[in-house]
């Protein structure tokens, strides 16, 4: 089975530009989360979407936005890029267990490496 796929793998932008990152979850997973991982740090939560609705938002400015499509794939958009947005952006998918009444462990893609010049 295919894992979580992200595109593109690498991206170079300049300050002030905008970027769109894409994520396809594992088949059957309806929850998609986005994380930002700055070099030398742990991932920081940006958004979670479940069934096309935003379910959680981290402490990121409004320049960051996301959406989830009917096929459960997702996009992360970042406007007015800053040098500090340079990072590895990770997408993770999961499913909700009605039996356990809890989300199951997240599976991560290999990320998009975004460099801002």
């Amino acid at each position: 089975d295919a894992g979580v796929t992200q595109s593109p793998t690498h991206l170079i932008k300049t300050r002030g530009q905008h970027v769109t990152l894409r994520c396809s979850p594992i088949s059957g997973h309806k929850s998609v989360s986005w994380y930002q991982q700055v070099l030398g740090q742990g991932p920081q939560f940006i958004f979670q979407y479940y069934e096309k609705e935003e379910r959680g938002r981290g402490n990121f400015p409004d320049r960051f936005s996301a959406r989830q499509f009917p096929n459960y794939s997702s996009e992360l958009n970042v406007n007015a890029l800053l040098l500090g947005d340079s990072a590895l952006y990770l997408c993770a998918s999961s499913w909700f267990s009605l039996r356990d009444r809890a989300y199951q462990p997240q599976h991560f893609g290999d990320g998009t490496r975004l460099s801002i010049l």
């Binding site: 742990g42 991932p43 997240q106």
Partner: protein
């Protein structure tokens, strides 16, 4: 607020020796705890989780973790380290009491296994 701490930036161990990677947590309510591993230029791979039940949790690749409520710790262990275990290890706790799927990660511990 929920948080995790990984007190060691790096752990060095010889191949064949047991390894321990430390994690302590701070949560309100019941902790949902996880360990993930990250290889260079890759995403995170799930190793194991603690939700409830036995304090010793077994996971992938021979790893296990010991949950200790009194010490608020969730240390990752393996009886015999392999060179291929060398990677960056993250402890995480589920934030927001489980209402969302938000994970709060520690700063990571680099495990170096020498042949």
């Amino acid at each position: 607020a929920q948080s995790v701490a990984q007190p060691e930036d790096q752990v060095n161990v010889a191949e064949g020796n047991p390894l321990t990677v430390k994690c302590t947590y701070s949560v309100s309510g019941n902790p949902y705890l996880f360990w993930y591993v990250q290889y260079p230029n890759r995403g995170l791979q799930f190793l194991l989780k603690y939700i409830t039940g036995d304090n010793l949790v077994k996971g992938s690749y021979g790893f296990e973790a010991e949950f200790n409520k009194s010490q608020t710790s969730f240390h990752l262990k393996k009886p015999s380290a392999l060179v291929s275990d060398s990677a960056l290890y993250f402890c995480a706790v589920r934030g927001d009491g489980g209402a969302t799927n938000k994970l709060i990660f520690g700063t990571g511990t680099l495990l170096a296994v020498q042949p």
